[in-house]
Structures are given as structure tokens and as C-alpha cells.
């Protein structure tokens, strides 16, 4: 854990839903934290409740029990406090790319022209130069994700929730985007909570990785990634990387035992 108050902290967060008359427990007491300028990944089996964690942190839904702290405080509403980038790019088809990325600034009440000027300065770094006036339908998947990410960054929040942003991209684009994200993160140094189910991606990008259990999700293991920064994509072939990968994979696959202990506890 980094020194000082964590940017985002979850303390024993539980979340249960009523679904078709049944009670479904999505989060079974999740405790985790992300420090200032730290890149933290959440990895776990699909359907384990990762996105529910984000919905709770972003303030879209309240936990059934437990606490969510932002900057060490419990705000009345967390809506508008962190930048949330969902799995789908959710670009507005009727807005140009430029007007899409300024959406958050607009919501904050920034004047449209000023917002556009601020956004334009970032277009080259995001590989979007020349596409300012195009509509989302004209862009490739990678570009759409970069636009969605720029929209998230422009919100001006120093904590970002990225929910499998590269999940829908092909392997090659994905590798490019990961390296690009490393570069962007090193430039802006936001706090990032990152959801993925790709072990390589989690290790490549993160300072720490939380391995989550099946539903109801709890943190099964926390793995510190002490690979030196700045990192390049080539790091995935180093022995240190392979060792970390073995650790994370082992934690992911150690299914029966923790699941049983959990079942007994509930």
C-alpha cells in the first residue's frame, strides 16, 4: 500500500440484488484500495461482480453494507467524483468526436468553445488528430476507445475507473493500446482502477493486482507488480514477468478451496 490516504478505498463492501425474486449476492465483502497515482487492476472470473464494484465506486448504486471512501472521506454522493469508462465506448452517435470528448466538461458547465480548445490540445497524443469532426461510426474500435478514454480524462478527475477498455479489440490493436495507455498513464499519473480478465494485461499495466474470487466476489489475493517503470510491451517476455504471471494464474485457478471457505462463511 502506498503511503498516505488511499484515493479510493473499499472496506468490506457487500452488494446483494433481488433478481427474479431471488437474492443474488454479487460482492461478498470486498476490501481493496488504490493509492494516489497508483495503477491497480482487478482480475477475476467473468461474472464475478467486477463491474458491480465499479458501479458502487462510481456511485451508481450503494453497497448493501460496507464503506466506500474517496480521499479518505465518505461523500454523500460519489457521482461526479471519479472518471468512469465503461466497457462499451458509449460515444454519442450524433456528436462529432470533438464534441463527444468534451461531454464531461460540458456537464461540468465549461463553455463549449473553451472545452473544445482544451480537448483539441490532446488530440495528437490520443492518435485522433484529423478526426475531430468525424462521427464515431467512422472510427475504428481502437480509435473509439481512445476517444472514450480522452473523454474520461478530460473530466479532470484524478481517479479513473477503466472497465475492460480493450476487451473488444483484436490482439494486435490491444497490444498497441496497452503500450499507449502505459505512456498516457506515465504522462498524467492518475489513480487507475482497471478491470480486466487478461492476466498479461493486468501485470503489464499495474502496480498491484487484486485477484478476485467467483461470485460472491472477495479479494482472493493481492499481487504487487514490482517491474520497473517506464515499461515497454517487451517486458512480457522477461522471467520476472513470467514469475508474476504464474503467481496470478495460481491465485485465479485456486478455485475450490477459497470458494468452500466462503460458502461455509455465508
Amino acid at each position: 500500500m502506498t503511503a498516505g490516504v488511499p484515493k479510493i478505498e473499499l472496506r468490506d463492501v457487500q452488494k446483494a440484488f433481488g433478481l427474479d425474486g431471488r437474492r443474488v449476492v454479487a460482492l461478498g465483502g470486498v476490501t481493496l484500495a488504490a493509492g494516489e497515482a497508483e495503477f491497480v487492476s482487478l482480475i477475476g472470473p467473468s461474472g464475478c461482480g467486477k463491474s458491480t464494484i465499479f458501479n458502487v465506486v462510481a456511485g451508481l448504486t450503494e453497497p448493501t453494507s460496507g464503506e466506500v471512501l474517496i480521499d479518505g472521506r465518505r461523500p454523500a454522493s460519489r457521482l461526479g467524483l471519479v472518471g468512469y469508462m465503461p466497457q462499451k465506448d458509449l460515444l454519442l452517435p450524433w456528436r462529432t468526436i470533438l464534441d463527444n470528448v468534451i461531454l464531461g466538461l460540458e456537464v461540468r458547465g465549461v463553455d463549449r468553445e473553451a472545452a473544445r480548445r482544451e480537448a483539441l490540445a490532446h488530440f495528437p497524443a490520443f492518435g485522433l488528430a484529423g478526426f475531430e469532426d468525424r462521427y464515431p461510426a467512422a472510427l475504428s474500435g481502437g480509435m473509439r476507445q481512445r476517444a472514450a478514454f480522452l473523454r474520461t480524462l478530460l473530466l479532470g478527475k484524478d481517479a479513473l475507473l477503466l472497465d475492460e477498455p480493450f476487451g473488444a479489440l483484436d490482439a494486435l490493436t490491444r497490444a498497441d493500446m496497452q503500450e499507449w495507455l502505459l505512456h498516457i498513464w506515465e504522462t498524467y499519473r492518475p489513480t487507475v482502477l482497471f478491470i480486466t480478465h487478461d492476466v498479461d494485461e493486468a501485470i503489464l499495466l499495474s502496480d498491484r493486482v487484486y485477484v478476485l474470487s467467483e461470485r460472491p466476489a472477495v479479494v482472493r489475493r493481492e499481487v504487487r507488480i514490482d517491474l520497473p517503470r517506464p515499461r515497454r510491451y517487451e517486458v512480457v517476455t522477461t522471467p520476472a514477468f513470467t514469475t508474476l504471471k504464474a503467481t496470478v494464474l495460481a491465485a485465479l485457478r485456486s478455485r475450490p478451496e477459497p470458494a468452500l471457505t466462503l460458502g461455509g462463511g455465508r
Partner: protein, 274 residues
């Protein structure tokens, strides 16, 4: 009158209607087939009318219709303006009422439960039956016609716009909420733009049937308008003039529809840009 019965407004799905706007943009060449068909039919009609010596009062030839149009030009123009006024007043009122109802229905469950059944029920009332009552209430002037137009036109606007608001992606709403957006910002930045294509589809249907509404209103009782002119001309066996009035009415309907389609083209420019 048989034709009237079939003119109750349909409630087509917006998806089915969306293609219509594109037709305006297509090259003229695509209309070559329909133009050829129309010309052939007109020619056959002309030849048949002359060949079988059909009396003009029974079935005037296309040339007779054009002749009537030219001869009665001033008369027809005066009545056209009267009908156009009824259509425009009725249509603008339908648009305002339709959009307001749709917003109210989408925003409040209570309003929806209270109003939606009546909105639907309003379409089961035979307009031809209610028009005489409107005549009794509002006299021979503009208003009973405008009200008939509203009764016919507001429905496709309400239904389509409600469907449009309902089709909003809930994930998009959540995204704006995480940005700290107010309900008002979510409405203007997400819900309205999502509903706009549906609203425009409903508007195209409404404008296309608005002319019919005005004519029904006039048939029941009027002192001016193309519908009134048709009734009067038919009574005088001026059949060519009846056809001339129908021709002008169709042209009016097509022109108004084209206008809305044009507005749609500009409003939804993003759809063609990709």
C-alpha cells in the same frame, strides 16, 4: 366515402419508417421506373377516354384535368390556400401537443397510466362521425378542420416520440450520471437526441395524413378549401375539376412531406456521415 375509412392513421414502427427520409436524397434515376409507369398509365387513360368516348363527367381524360386546372386556376388557388392554412394550423398544434404529451408520458408513470389509454382510444373514434359535432360546436370556419387535423396527426407523433424516449440506452444515462450530470442535462444531451429520429418519423407520417384530415373536415361543412371545392364540383358534375383538386391536394401532401424529409436530412446529418 369508402376511401375515407381506410385513412385512419397507422402506427408504423419507427424502424419501418426511417428509410423514407433517405428516398429524397437518392438520385433521380431511381425514380425513372415509377415515372415511366405513371406516364404509361396516363397515356393509356388518355387513349381509353378518347377511344371509348367516355363522357367527361364520368371519367375525364388527363388532358381534361389539366385543362380544368388551368381554367379554374384562380378558384383552385384560393381554395388551396384555405386548405393549406387548416393543415398548417392543425399540424403545428399537433406537433406541439404531440411532443408535450410524449414528454409528459415519458417523465411520469402516473401521467402515462392516466393518458396513454385515452391517446390510443382517440384513434378508435371515427373522425367522419365526430366531424359533424365539431361543426356544431365550432361553426364553419377554420377551427373544426384544424381540430380534425390534430385528432389525426398528434397520434403518430406521440407514439413515435414516446418510443424514441424509451429507446434511450440506459448505460448512456448511467455514464452521464457518473459525470455528475443533472436530470435536465441527461434529458437534453441524451434523451432528446435519441428521440429525435423517432420524432421526425412520426412527424413525416403526421404531415402525410394531415391533408386528409383537413379534407374530411371540409367535406362535413365548409365555405372554402379543396375538399369543399371537390364536393361542390362533384355536385355540379364538374368531374375534371374534382380530379384537379385531388391533384393539387396530392401535390400539397407530397410537398409538405418533402419539406419534413428535408429537415430530417439536415437534423440527422450524422447518419449519412459515416
Amino acid at each position: 366515402m369508402a376511401r375515407l375509412v381506410t385513412t385512419s392513421p397507422p402506427a408504423p414502427s419507427p424502424q419501418a419508417e426511417r428509410g423514407l427520409g433517405g428516398e429524397v436524397s437518392r438520385p433521380l434515376a431511381e425514380y425513372a421506373a415509377s415515372a415511366a409507369l405513371a406516364l404509361t398509365a396516363l397515356l393509356a387513360w388518355e387513349v381509353a377516354a378518347a377511344g371509348f368516348a367516355i363522357p367527361k363527367w364520368l371519367l375525364p381524360a388527363p388532358s381534361d384535368v389539366v385543362a380544368a386546372l388551368v381554367a379554374s386556376w384562380e378558384l383552385i388557388a384560393r381554395h388551396t390556400l384555405a386548405t393549406l392554412e387548416e393543415v398548417l394550423v392543425g399540424f403545428v398544434a399537433s406537433f406541439v401537443v404531440g411532443v408535450a404529451l410524449a414528454v409528459a408520458i415519458v417523465r411520469s408513470r402516473v401521467v402515462e397510466r392516466a393518458l396513454y389509454p385515452f391517446v390510443v382510444a382517440s384513434q378508435t373514434i371515427p373522425i367522419v362521425a365526430i366531424a359533424p359535432v365539431l361543426l356544431v360546436w365550432f361553426g364553419y370556419g377554420l377551427w373544426p378542420k384544424a381540430i380534425v387535423v390534430v385528432l389525426i396527426c398528434f397520434f403518430p407523433i406521440v407514439v413515435n416520440t414516446v418510443d424514441g424516449f424509451r429507446s434511450v440506452d440506459p448505460d448512456l444515462v448511467d455514464l452521464l450520471r457518473t459525470m455528475g450530470a443533472t436530470p435536465r442535462q441527461i434529458f437534453t444531451k441524451v434523451q432528446v437526441p435519441t428521440a429525435l429520429p423517432y420524432l421526425l418519423s412520426g412527424t413525416k407520417i403526421a404531415i402525410a395524413v394531415s391533408v386528409i384530415g383537413a379534407v374530411i373536415g371540409e367535406w362535413v361543412g365548409a365555405q372554402a378549401g379543396l375538399g369543399y371545392l371537390m364536393v361542390r364540383s362533384a355536385a355540379q358534375f364538374q368531374t375534371a375539376r374534382v380530379f384537379a383538386a385531388i391533384l393539387v391536394l396530392s401535390a400539397m401532401g407530397v410537398a409538405l412531406f418533402g419539406l419534413v424529409a428535408l429537415i430530417e436530412r439536415f437534423a440527422l446529418a450524422y447518419r449519412r456521415a459515416s
